[in-house]
């Protein structure tokens, strides 16, 4: 059981890391929008009919399917 004297302090170190990671996440705004990203990933961005964002939208679109 002596290994516990090593493992438990090690657990505490991990606890500290977890806490630090969480603080970082809070600071960098990961908890700002809890609902949006879940939906956003389901929306297709690569549909050829959808006008491209920014850079390609500034140039005329290459005639893709019509």
């Amino acid at each position: 059981m002596n290994i516990l004297y090593l493992l438990i302090p090690l657990g505490l170190v991990l606890l500290g890391i977890a806490l630090w990671a969480f603080m970082w996440a809070v600071r960098s705004g990961q908890f700002e929008d809890m609902e949006g990203p879940a939906h956003r990933m389901l929306m297709d961005d690569d549909d050829p009919r959808v006008p491209r964002r920014q850079k390609s939208a500034e140039k005329p679109l290459p005639d893709e399917n019509k």
């Binding site: 059981m1 516990l4 004297y5 438990i8 657990g11 505490l12 606890l15 977890a18 806490l19 969480f22 603080m23 809070v26 600071r27 908890f31 700002e32 929008d33 809890m34 609902e35 949006g36 879940a38 939906h39 956003r40 389901l42 929306m43 297709d44 549909d47 009919r49 959808v50 006008p51 491209r52 964002r53 920014q54 939208a57 500034e58």
Partner: protein, 812 residues
């Protein structure tokens, strides 16, 4: 006529029988209820964004057709002086950043639609929408696109965007949220670690454990629990201290006392190498309480933010005319009596004053409830906050700031608000008696046990305090309210005050305002009476052709009544306040007020029983037709009123509009209790009279003139499309253009009430059972901790049932 029961593809409302708007979406024509929705759907199709209709999970907000002048007004946001308030310049030159509030977001597809549409505008660098807060951040290149163009693009797809100053309130809220999250993390992670060690200790008491190891576990538990008690639980100490200083006993007093006492005793026991440590109970207790508080705060912030930001939008800039005739754009706050301002059509009049030059009609519906625009001639008084409609006015300002009519109404509102019965205060009072009783019982129990040793007495007292901790009791109501509020938010009802749902469940009378609430505050042709031998279709076409060049709401209503334009008028001439004339196929026609349009020597018999606004179409010899116009009822008004009545609620209609008009609306909706031509003060008195007879009144309104009544009613509900002020002071806001969510809210409120009763019953039952057991000394503090947590958890889970879609309470 074929689509009698069809629903608008865009917003889901019933398509009115006589209209036939449709838009081709994915190669299939889809019905639309109004030109507003049709225009928005067309814009979505034109921008190849039809995927929106596949992804969305809720129908869109009914789009409003925008008058060109309203779009014009957005250009005011390009003014650099005004931009200072909400635009930040980034490190790169020409790239600017602003925060916008988006109105009309109902589902995730709305976010997608906005990001895609605005993001593809040339010159927009970044456009991100936060789905939770309905805020958007936009970065754009000033040399390539103007802010007003971005705002117009958002308007084109059926949403409304307002720039907001994100600096103050928002930052305070963000800081508060971050702090709460950090506390929650410390408490949560700490509780998990301590619990792990405690399980080992509990198991050790049964199966035996090495004494040094057990002591090591206790020291580690103390180490982990210390930051939880000292940092995470800080809000409880603060609030308990505040309560004590004010000589009150709040819920937080026993909470703070239990935490401190249990921690001190456990730490003492650890140092003295005794076995009674309860770090697990303490940390779990803190974590549960913090979670509840966090959810509560989140809901409070979200409710407050929308309303607050909208208030800030009340007129920002005015055009002042210098004596030399030069136009100057200045902030409204800099206006002084004696200034002359120019107000273009579509703009809001910035302060009270007299007309110095020009004649126009002014929309005062927000202030007086009068549904028709009022004519303003030379030297007549105009009220700040009303909207100029027809032609430019020069106004000599005579009252600004606190002296204006608008400010007076606001003061009335303040007074009414302070008179509001404060249910929350009552709840606090009950809680403080409960806590006082708890302390007396705990002390009594301690005294009885004193003889069997101070240490045992101490732990029994702690067990009593923890086990009877009123947290299930104090969670019972807020958790249910939060769950219900979230569910209502999804249904398009924003709750801004905590007590709203509680009171709504007890409502006996629902009082409606007419203009802007039951109706759209928008005119529509109700009937056409043909007086000559011309065909009905032809008459409608002629009328629409004449009115097309006018911006007047009456004219717009007639233009909208004609399904398409096939006739064109030449030599159109407007006579302000009277009507239009023009030539079609060599015939000179006049359309407008009867005294203007009816040819000399002719008579027209108006149907006076209709009591509506009559517009006459005539040529130089004969009268062709009479158009009767009226304010358009919301399509779901009838259903809403009927459902409310079947739910056993009395429906009352109070309106500032003319008697006859109100009578007709009341008859259409089946409302027996109605009054017309009532002034704001009179409305207030009527509601107070109802309340004096014991009625619990919910008031639905829109408009500044309703604000005092809204505040006096036990529950006030404002239409989201209505005045900012009415929203800010109301308990609930309907975010869509629909009325039916009121019915949903009422059903939800009643269900919430039931859940709260169940929760309270459980909490009380639990305390009644646990208190004697703890007092007998049969419950160790750790059992008390588990009991308390389990009881709180049960209450929370019960409340979460409200979030589930429930057939029993679905819309109508």
């Amino acid at each position: 006529m074929t689509n009698l029961l069809a629903a608008c593809y865009h917003c889901g409302l019933e398509v009115p029988p006589q209209s036939n708007y449709s838009v081709c979406i994915d190669d299939k024509p889809q019905p639309m209820c109004c030109p507003g929705c049709a225009a928005v759907a067309q814009a979505i199709v034109d921008n190849q964004l039809t995927d929106y209709y596949r992804y969305r999970s809720a129908p869109a907000i009914t789009a409003r057709e925008l008058v060109p002048a309203e779009l014009q007004q957005l250009t005011i946001f390009d003014n650099p002086k005004l931009q200072q308030q909400f635009v930040t310049t980034t490190a790169q030159d020409d790239i600017k950043e602003a925060s916008l509030i988006l109105e009309g977001i109902v589902c995730a597809a709305c976010v997608w639609l906005n990001e895609r549409h605005v993001g593809s505008l040339p010159g927009v660098v970044e456009f991100r929408v936060n789905y939770t807060t309905h805020r958007a951040t936009v970065k754009w290149n000033e040399t390539r696109i103007k802010l007003s163009d971005i705002l117009q693009a958002i308007t084109a797809i059926g949403y409304q965007a307002h720039p907001v100053d994100a600096q103050r309130q928002e930052l305070v809220h963000q800081r508060e949220r971050y702090r709460a999250l950090r506390r929650l993390a410390v408490a949560g992670l700490g509780a998990m670690q301590v619990m792990m060690l405690s399980v080992a200790l509990y198991a050790g008491t049964y199966y035996g454990i090495d004494a040094t190891l057990a002591q090591f576990f206790r020291w580690v538990s103390l180490l982990v629990a210390t930051p939880v008690v000292l940092y995470a639980a800080l809000p409880f100490y603060r609030s308990a201290w505040r309560d004590l200083r004010l000589r009150r006993l709040g819920m937080d007093v026993p909470v703070a006392l239990s935490i401190i006492a249990a921690f001190a005793a456990s730490a003492y026991a650890t140092v003295l190498q005794q076995s009674d440590v309860y770090f697990d109970s303490i940390t779990m207790f803190i974590f549960f309480l913090l979670s509840g508080r966090y959810l509560e705060m989140q809901a409070r912030h979200r409710a407050g933010e929308t309303a607050e930001a909208l208030v800030k939008l009340i007129p920002a800039m005015a055009t002042r005319l210098a004596p030399t005739g030069l136009e100057q754009i200045i902030p409204v706050s800099e206006l002084v009596p004696g200034d002359v301002v120019r107000v273009k059509p579509g703009e809001t009049i910035p302060a009270d004053g007299k007309v110095r030059a020009g004649t126009s009609s002014v929309d005062e519906s927000l202030l007086t409830g009068e549904s028709l625009p009022v004519r303003k001639l030379h030297e007549q008084l105009v009220i700040g906050g009303s909207v100029n409609i027809e032609s430019p006015l020069e106004i000599l300002i005579d009252k600004v700031g606190a002296d204006t009519v608008l400010a007076a109404i606001q003061r009335l509102l303040d007074r009414a608000q302070t008179e509001k019965p404060d249910i929350a205060r009552l709840a606090d009072k009950v809680a403080s008696y409960f806590v006082a009783a708890l302390f007396i019982v705990a002390l009594g129990v301690g005294a009885l046990w004193w003889s069997s040793g101070p240490l045992q007495a101490f732990w029994i007292v702690i067990a009593v305090l923890v086990v009877t901790c009123p947290c299930a009791l104090s969670l019972a109501t807020p958790v249910a309210l939060i769950a219900a509020t979230g569910r209502l938010m999804q249904a398009g009802v924003l709750t801004t005050r905590g007590h709203a749902l509680e009171t709504l469940a007890r409502v006996t009378h629902v009082v409606f305002d007419k203009t802007g609430t039951l109706t759209y505050a928008r005119l529509r042709v109700d009937a056409v009476e043909i007086c000559s031998n011309l065909a009905r279709e032809q008459i409608i076409q002629i009328a629409a052709a004449l009115e097309r060049s006018s911006e007047h709401p009456l004219a717009q209503a007639i233009v909208q009544f004609a399904p398409h334009a096939s006739v064109h008028a030449t030599d159109c001439l407007a006579t302000p306040g009277a009507g239009m004339e023009g030539t079609i196929d060599t015939v000179r026609y006049r359309i407008g007020r009867p005294d203007f349009a009816v040819p000399a020597g002719k008579q027209v018999s108006l149907d006076t029983t209709r009591q509506q606004t009559a517009i006459v179409l005539a040529d130089t010899a004969t009268v062709h037709a009479v158009f009767y116009l009226q304010d358009e009822l919301r399509p779901d008004a009838v259903q809403t009123v009927r459902t409310l009545q079947t739910m056993g609620v009395q429906v009352v209609l109070l309106s500032g509009d003319r008697h006859a008009v109100v009578a007709q609306v009341a008859q259409q909706l089946g409302i027996h209790d109605w009054r017309g031509a009532v002034l704001p003060q009179e409305k207030l008195r009527q509601v107070q009279q109802l309340q004096a007879t014991g009625a619990v009144v919910a008031m639905l309104g829109d408009g500044v003139n309703d604000a005092p009544v809204l505040a006096a009613a036990q529950v006030s509900i404002a239409m989201g499309s209505g005045t900012q002020l009415a929203q800010a002071s109301s308990d609930m806001v309907l975010l869509s253009e629909r009325l039916l969510p009121v019915v949903f809210a009422l059903r939800m409120a009643r269900l919430t009430q039931r859940i709260i009763r169940q929760n309270l019953a459980w909490a009380i039952l639990y305390n009644l059972l646990a208190l004697p057991l703890a007092a007998m000394g049969w419950i160790a503090p750790w059992m008390a901790g588990i009991g308390m947590s389990a009881s709180s958890l049960l209450v929370v889970l019960n409340a979460l049932r409200l979030r589930r879609p429930n057939e029993e309470i679905t819309l109508a």
